[in-house]
Amino acid sequence: MMGRLLEKSIAVLSWIAGFLLIASLLLLLTYLVNKGWSSLRVSLIFGDTVPLDALLLKRQVFDGIFPAIVGTLFLIVGSMFIAIPVGIAGGIYMAEYCRGKMKSLLNLAFDILAGVPSIIVGLAGLLLTIFLNRTFHGQIKTCLLISCVSLASLVLPYIIRTTQTALETVDPVVRKTAPALGASRLQNITMVLLPNSISNIFSGVILATGRCAEDTAVIMLTGAVATAGLPRSIFDQYEALPFYIYYISSQYTGPDELAQGFGAAIILLLLCTGLLVSTLWIQRRLSIILLYR
């Protein structure tokens, strides 16, 4: 009888939890849309610049979030470009090669790295900049590159961890199969284990992408600014949507600017959703291509 009651109540509580979460999300969304709807115009993105001119980089955009959108995309691409290869390689090492003392040591290191607050990562990025600035006579300042490196270190443990667990949880039978056919360890990894866990690895990548898209504390210290226009190189400062929203929330001068903040929040949500959908699509294609082509 006890068991039955427990099972029932857990099921009911779970549903309640689900509704709670979705309800708060809906509340947030309706509030954002309600407040930001009025600002969702072309001018929110491009200000008073002609959109085509802005897209062709003919004119700078002022009072629009176009540079912030582009900056966010650059940030994501840049940091993933660093984090994915290093993270996956590290994860492979952890799952397939690392044993004994070394493994528990590195495991702990990654646990800690995953727990390091983002603002400390940002702080580290800033101090790194200052250090480089002093050694290279003012050549290096806070910029896109520094932000990408900092963000990459922030999400690195996520990718390492998911890669590691994805590889470690491959069915032992599958794991033994390729060696039985004469595969070397590297062959087993590249031809069986990785393709097999690629979709799991991708969920780590998705998580990491989301984290890069949303983080404010790191970029606040390493190069995101209120106005900068489009970055022309990775050594430029840049605008980014989360920072823009934070900035508006503390600096807005009137209801119009506030609505712009809400509009930016909506755009950022759309951007994240778009990114997610495309990553999911790549995830699907990739595992099909790797295994069945």
Binding site: V173, R175, K176, T177, L181, G182, A183, Q187, N196, L291
Partner: protein, 260 residues
Amino acid sequence: MDTATTVNNTAVQVSTVDVPVKIYTQSLCFYYRRQKVLHDISLQLPANQITAITGPSGSGKSTFLMVLNRLWEEVEGCDISGKVTMELAGHFKNIHDPTLPVCELRRKVAMVFQQPNPLPMSIYKNIAFPLRLAHVNDKKRIKENVEFVLRQVCLWDEVKDRLGDDGRLLSGGQQQRLCLARALVLNPEVLLLDEPTSSLDPEASNAIEELLLTLKSQCTLVMVSHYQDQIQRIADFHIKVLNGRFSTGLDWRGDCNQNS
């Protein structure tokens, strides 16, 4: 490599027949974590013959096969002692010899598992897989080989229209034949079979038995089987296992039931 010189060209003396030897084991013991699973096995397995291993379930038959191609190394918490010597490409070698890479060994000593284990990829890719591992890149040759072995195991007609399907979607028996085909594609010298017909119907089973008999000329077969009648039909030698202890001598079945 002292053993290699002394045992080379030796043959097993069974009853009155001399048979060349392919594999020696010397005081082989095997442990799963705390537990001793194989006890001090010293055996000779004859070349180009079918040796059947029987014994109650849990007595260590599968484990013994895994020792022969060093596959146990992929399982955590195992340990081994003793020595296994095998004739490969004409020379006797200690299979743990560092000059013999384990991949090489496993390509020469193919294995079909008790439970079929198709890889999570298409049927075609499953079979082409060992070729890919051995860096065979000639597309046409791969294709021919795949078709050849699929015909060998009588699976070609059933799957020729769905070579792109996931190998794991096949039925149990189809999977078993798929795995056999995959083991054959590299022309191994030794073929280890763990109950190769356990999920097959009598007809398919017969076909496989026929196949095994034809394979004798090109490789040495070691087969775990539960079916007395199957052993009667195709095995040349018979080893009985009980609780990790192997019957020392080979039971020569050639005189009462000579197939080859």
